[in-house]
């Protein structure tokens, strides 16, 4: 598989504060890749360097086989192939959904059909509504429509579902999967671990300007082989035990209680547990 993004030894400091400190990263074509990390870990700086918004101090960066720091018309041709969905914006409130989407289509060489894109993000019945009358979730879907109208090979999604209700998030996730299935590569940054788990083919955890680990969501941090937590009620108290073999433990408990184990709960480490452990328990 070809590399859509490849980064080696990336460095960027602001004054004496080193935001990205020797970061390596490779993203394959056609995958949804989630970048996780606490605020201030270097996530935004890294993504903005990949998007060509920021210059780097050192390191190799190739995005669609192009150096995003390149200025001039070559950069414009490269931008024709990427789509960027920034964190929430509130611009162009006085334009309708259709006006904005069809206008952005004029920027690109081979845009998608504006009506189809609006349909894809589920805004067809809001086509003629002014953007400022949209709800938060609808507004976000308009942002996505503007990000994908150019038929991009690579899509950057920054915190795409902040402020969504659970139903809207699920609808949004299936939209992202649809884009991946159409062949786009997606780099996602998110604060929601369940979102990374539901969507991402691979996740990377970034902390203090470095990648700590890259893995599939179910393997991250030895999650698949981590101990399970078994808890149950024993008289007045809840007892908890960590076990490498929870089935055996549950079996012996079942015999001990003669069938039903009061308030039995068996839990594998969640992605969030693993993640918090990896970044040192401070999600700030």
């Amino acid at each position: 598989m070809s590399k859509v993004i490849s980064v080696a030894g990336l460095r960027k400091s602001y004054g004496s504060n080193s935001a990205v400190d020797g970061l390596d990263l490779e993203i394959e074509q056609g995958e949804i890749f989630a970048l996780l990390g606490p605020n201030g870990a270097g996530k935004t700086t890294t993504v903005e360097i990949l998007e060509g918004f920021r210059d780097r101090d050192a390191g190799q960066v190739r995005v669609l086989d192009f150096d995003p720091a390149t200025k001039g018309s070559a950069g414009q041709q490269w931008r024709d192939r990427i789509g960027i969905v920034l964190q929430s914006t509130q611009d162009a409130g006085d334009l309708t959904v259709y006006e904005s989407v069809s206008h952005f289509a004029t920027y690109y060489e081979n845009p998608k059909d504006p009506r189809e894109v609006i349909e894809l993000v589920g805004l067809t019945d809001k086509s003629d509504a002014l953007a400022r009358t949209l709800s938060g979730g609808q507004r976000r879907r308009l942002d996505v429509a503007l990000g994908i109208i150019g038929n991009p090979e690579l899509i950057f999604l920054d915190e795409p579902t902040t402020g969504f209700d659970p139903e809207a998030r699920r609808a949004f996730w299936s939209l992202i999967r649809k884009l991946r299935d159409e062949g786009a590569t997606i780099l996602l940054t998110t604060h929601y671990l369940d979102e990374a788990e539901a969507l991402a083919d691979r996740v990377a955890v970034i902390n203090r300007g470095k990648i700590i680990e890259v893995s599939t969501p179910d393997q991250l941090g030895g999650r698949a082989t981590s101990l399970a937590t078994v808890s149950w009620r024993d008289g007045a108290e809840i007892r908890t035990e960590k076990s490498a073999n929870p089935t055996a433990l549950v079996n012996s408990l079942a015999q001990q209680y003669g069938g039903d184990i009061p308030e039995l709960n068996v839990r594998r480490a969640s992605l969030e547990d693993i993640y918090l452990e990896m970044i040192g328990g401070t999600d700030e």
């Binding site: 998007e51 060509g52 918004f53 414009q76 041709q77 931008r79 024709d80 990427i82 960027i84 920034l86 964190q87 929430s88 914006t89 509130q90 611009d91 162009a92 006085d94 334009l95 006006e99 206008h103 952005f104 004029t106 920027y107 690109y108 060489e109 081979n110 845009p111 002014l130 503007l146 150019g150």
Partner: protein, 263 residues
């Protein structure tokens, strides 16, 4: 589909800018109606003549047309662009293949259209309500056209350049409007320029608005009035040279300082 050009995208942006402008009622009122309100007030308060055949309204309309270039270019853009920067409009555009020049072409189209409407409204109101005389010679109309083109271009690039000065979109109006109002007082828009204190005249002579108003007077006032100007004549060459110099300064300043994102 063929590759879109910077100009064709710029024209599309111009259309969009105008659509948004019309849909924001505040901006329509602020940019287009406010000068008419001022004309109504000043034209009614000062109904005297300031020279033979020159009413205050005639003098004031010339000044307001010059101000119109500053309002629709400098003031409008220096307030609007910081807001677009805060809203993320500019960053979003930066992430697309849209050429930067298309954005500025769109703004120039917006400025041109709103300037034409403003000049037309001022002239119409002046003629209908305050007996303002329009120029009668083709030469004067051509001079007006040249002044509007150069003056608006100058005002537009200075507005783009100055858009980096306000620290936020919300505060932009508070930073930009006083600059414009003070310049209007200093440049002989609200009062007869030669009656202002000398130091005020000297300060005003540094900035383009003074020269725009003087240029507009050379169009709307009879040539006999020229002897009452500071230099004793219209200084047409000098007027265009100084506005042109500010155009160049503004262009360099804008290109060097323009930012697509708030730091």
């Amino acid at each position: 589909m063929s590759k879109p050009t910077a100009l064709s995208i710029g024209m599309q942006r111009g259309r969009l800018e105008i659509k948004q402008f019309i849909r924001q009622r505040e901006s329509v009122v602020f940019t287009l109606l406010f000068p008419l309100i001022l004309l109504a007030i000043f034209g009614s308060v000062f109904s005297n003549s300031i020279a033979k055949g020159v009413t205050f309204s005639q003098y004031f309309v010339a000044g307001m047309i010059a101000s119109g270039m500053v309002n629709t270019g400098f003031q409008q853009l220096a307030i609007m662009i910081p807001m677009e920067r805060d809203f993320g409009t500019l960053k979003r555009l930066r992430g697309t293949p849209m050429p930067a020049s298309s954005y500025f072409i769109g703004k120039a189209i917006l400025v041109t259209l709103s300037m034409i409407i403003q000049v037309f409204l001022l002239l119409a109101a002046g003629v209908i309500f305050f007996g303002v005389n329009l120029p009668t010679s083709a030469h004067k109309w051509l001079l007006l056209l040249a002044l509007l083109v150069l003056g608006s271009a100058c005002s537009t690039v200075l507005g783009i350049a100055f858009s980096n000065v306000p620290k936020s979109g919300r505060g932009a109006s508070a930073v930009v409007s006083p600059v414009v109002i003070v310049l209007q007082f200093f440049s002989g828009v609200f009062f007869v320029f030669t009656q202002l204190p000398h130091w005020m005249q000297s300060v005003a002579a540094i900035f383009p608005l003074k020269w725009m108003t003087q240029g507009a007077r050379s169009v709307f006032l009879p040539d006999s009035f020229a002897t009452r100007e500071v230099a004793g004549n219209w200084e047409t060459g000098r007027t265009f040279a100084i506005i042109g110099a500010w155009l160049v300064v503004g262009l360099i300043w804008a290109i060097r300082s323009f930012k697509w994102e708030r730091d």
